[in-house]
């Protein structure tokens, strides 16, 4: 196997790759020359404060936004050469404001990507069961669901396209802590059972530590730390990561102290 063949094979194993990607708004770099590869099947959390560029980086992966410089590759293919509409139908995208179509029933929301492609509608019952919802919700309108139920439908809709890459932008941001926790577990289970490649943008380090295999820390448009949760907790990921890890750790300690009094 010569070098070029080997590179090609490795590229194909990557679900997602960024090569020197920059995106600027009015001269300010939201994403600044980021290079990054994400292996198939990995669960990556993208952590950082607001304005660090993590949402922009995510939106570059399904062409909701376009880079000013560099290339983005999905399954080894430069997405700038691909058809944006096709690309998006093959990539699950879940975001904080959910964006369910308010005039469509739960079943119609979940079946939207197959419908756009002119395919037979997905098995809505199975799709609902997958995200832990009862089948009788299928005929409801989004407004008749709780926030947590709505986001579960959002996830089911994202997966109904059959894509194996799932992009999540603060998906639990607007939910209460209990719902957040159970929904996080659901996503992790889906990741395992469906063999997904998941990228989760969050500003909550605890959530990232508990769900992901790999954590990227972004600051000012750059990736400043890239480590496993274990390495993060052991202080091996640099000062920015340590500062973020310190917060949930201090909270846990204070909670433990309160319990002891």
């Amino acid at each position: 196997m010569d070098f070029r063949e080997e590179t090609g094979a490795r590229m194909a194993d990557l679900a997602l790759a960024f090569e020197q990607v920059s995106r600027r708004y009015a001269g300010v770099a939201a994403v600044d020359a980021v290079s990054l590869t994400v292996g198939r099947g990995s669960f990556v959390a993208l952590v950082g404060s607001s304005g660090s560029g993590k949402s922009t980086l995510l939106r570059l992966a399904n062409r909701l936004d376009a880079p000013d410089e560099g290339r983005v590759l999905v399954d080894g293919q430069d997405i700038a050469q691909a058809d944006a509409i096709r690309l998006r139908r093959g990539i699950g995208y879940v975001f904080q404001n959910i964006g369910l179509f308010p005039h469509m029933s739960v079943a119609e929301n979940i079946g939207i990507i197959p419908r756009l492609e002119g395919r037979a509608s997905a098995d809505v019952g199975a799709a609902l069961a997958q995200v832990g919802l009862a089948a009788d919700l299928a005929t409801r309108l989004p407004a008749q669901l709780s926030g947590g139920q709505q986001q579960r439908v959002g996830i089911a809709r994202a997966l109904a396209g059959g894509g194996r890459l799932l992009l999540m932008d603060e998906p639990f941001g607007a939910l209460d802590p209990v719902t957040r926790d159970t929904l996080g577990r659901t996503v992790r289970e889906l990741h395992e059972t469906l063999g997904l490649t998941t990228i989760l943008v969050t500003h909550d380090m605890a959530e990232a530590l508990l769900l992901a295999d790999r954590i990227l820390v972004m600051a000012d448009g750059r990736i400043v730390a890239d480590a496993t949760p274990h390495e993060m907790l052991n202080g091996q990921a640099g000062p920015e990561a340590d500062a973020l890890v310190a917060i949930p750790r201090a909270q846990a300690r204070r909670l433990a102290d309160l319990g002891d009094e």
């Binding site: 995208y93 975001f95 964006g99 179509f101």
Partner: protein, 503 residues
């Protein structure tokens, strides 16, 4: 009242046809423009601003503005663009309906939750799919509310189409207002309001169908709407055969004479329709363009108006001049004078002590002149004003009927009366003599459209009216329509006059 109701069906048909055409055109322009504007804020500001500006122009004025505009356009294109009737009414109403449609389409689209639009992009909708599946259904309830508003406005404003010579439910309203036949006014108003209410209810049904995601309700509303449209337009099919259109200006004598002409033509086997309430300048244009076939004009009006003359020749010379001018220019025909004059004359209350315009000139600075709506803009007014040096304390314009009321009640001291008006005798008014002969003659003359100018059968039916109507008879006929008690209809007055002319 029965008679008032009997004339409604063809008017409703024309009214509905005009309003529906204007709405269809406004939707054809407003929907795509709204879509475009919702994505381009600057275009939205310009388009909604323009539509709003149009909205501030009174409906009557907007319709009137299209008349010279279309005349100019017709001249530019070498003729063929009708300046009266359907076209100006359609254009004015379309512009009127545009604002609510445009504004609500833009508001509906801009009101969609940005997250929903982001989701539409994220699931991979093409722009066309996004429009069809997300934007259109979500903006529809707001857009529909605008369409409802536009429809109700359009149906109401379509009554004004009468003034540019298109038959609408404004016909009985304007005619009734002139001759104080409140049953006619009421019939027109109730019919127009009824149409608006029914349309609003059906559009409301469609709107609720869209809002509640109940397509059956929407389709029912739509089907009923089109059914109603078809039913209302049914009388037009019968009216399609060629008939004679008789024009009338907007005062009692014209209504009576139009019916008298109609009576004679029907007797000669013609089908007859009426275009009533035409403005003075509009009437002759309508005749020259063939929109109407026949009407009664006054020699002085034509002389100073369309012919643009400022001299005041004797009666016979004037009629000769008119006949020659017509043959050379507009190709219309002078069938002949009816035998009486309806001249402008200044009239005062009995016992004022005034007998001539020269007497009046001395007292004028203390007096108020009541004029009909066009008198103050007419060359005749300038002629006597300049000949006698008339300077009034104030001048006020009224519709003819209210002008006489104003004189009686003292709101006006002098009015621009008409010599054939029945109210002159009834109110014992004094007509001031014009010793300087500053005012031209106003012989009532029967005119025919170019297409009728050599139609022997047509002319034979109307020639017996020439020189057969005496001014006393005309005054009496006018008064029977104008008086407050025991009013006659224009048809009844025409029948009476018909009998008098055949003695």
């Amino acid at each position: 009242m029965n008679e008032a109701l009997a004339q409604l069906p063809p008017l409703i048909a024309n009214h509905v046809l005009l309003a529906a055409a204007a709405m269809a055109l406004a939707l054809l322009i407003g929907l795509p423009l709204g879509l475009l504007a919702a994505r381009r804020p600057r275009l939205a500001a310009v388009a909604v601003g323009f539509a709003g500006l149009v909205q501030t122009i009174p409906g009557l004025a907007l319709l009137a503005l299209f008349y010279p505009l279309l005349l100019a356009l017709s001249a530019l294109l070498g003729g063929g663009v009708p300046a009266l009737g359907f076209l100006p009414a359609l254009l004015a109403l379309t512009l009127y309906a545009l604002l609510p449609i445009l504004r609500n389409v833009v508001a509906g689209l801009q009101g969609i939750d940005p997250a929903v639009l982001q989701a539409a992009d994220a699931v991979g909708m093409t722009p066309a799919q996004r429009l069809r599946l997300v934007e259109a259904p979500l903006a529809a309830p707001v857009a529909m509310a605008g369409i409802r508003t536009a429809a109700v406005w359009t149906i109401g404003a379509a009554t004004l189409a009468t003034t540019v010579g298109y038959p609408s439910l404004g016909n009985p309203i304007f005619a009734g207002l002139q001759i104080e036949r409140w049953d006619l006014v009421l019939a027109g108003c109730v019919a127009a309001a009824g149409l608006a209410l029914v349309t609003d209810a059906l559009l409301g049904l469609i709107e609720r169908g869209i809002g509640r995601r109940d397509p059956r309700r929407s389709f029912t509303g739509l089907a009923l709407l089109f059914l109603g449209l078809a039913l209302a337009c049914l009388p037009l099919l019968q009216g399609a055969q060629r008939s004679v259109t008789i024009g009338a200006k907007n005062f009692s004598e014209q209504y009576v004479l139009a019916r008298l002409i109609g009576l004679r033509l029907e007797r000669a086997g013609y089908r007859v329709t009426y275009r009533e309430g035409l403005g003075s300048a509009v009437a002759f244009r309508a005749l020259a363009s063939g929109d109407i076939d026949v009407y009664v004009e006054y020699s002085g009006t034509l002389w100073t108006g369309a012919m643009g003359r400022s001299d005041t020749p004797p009666r016979a010379a004037m009629l000769d001049g008119i006949a020659h001018w017509m043959a050379a220019g507009p190709k219309t025909a002078l069938i002949g004078p009816l035998g009486f004059e309806n001249a402008y004359a200044l009239a005062v209350r009995p016992g004022s002590g005034l007998t001539s315009i020269a007497d009046l000139a001395a007292q004028a600075p203390r007096l108020t002149l009541g004029a009909d709506l066009e008198f103050l803009d007419r060359p005749e007014w300038r002629a006597i004003r300049d000949a006698y040096g008339l300077r009034f304390n104030a001048t006020r314009a009224y519709s003819p009927t209210f002008m006489y009321r104003a004189l009686q009640s003292g709101q006006a001291d002098v009015i621009s009366a008409f010599s054939s008006d029945g109210r002159i005798a009834a109110d014992r008014l004094t007509l001031l003599s014009d010793r300087k002969e500053a005012m031209p003659h106003y012989d009532a003359i029967l005119l025919a459209a170019p297409a009728r100018a050599h139609d022997a059968r047509f002319l034979a039916a109307l020639r017996p009216l020439v020189n057969r109507i005496h001014v006393e008879d005309m005054r009496e006929a006018n008064y029977s329509v104008d008086r407050d008690q025991a009013k006659a209809t224009p048809e009844q007055a025409a029948a009476w006059l018909d009998a008098r002319t055949r003695r």
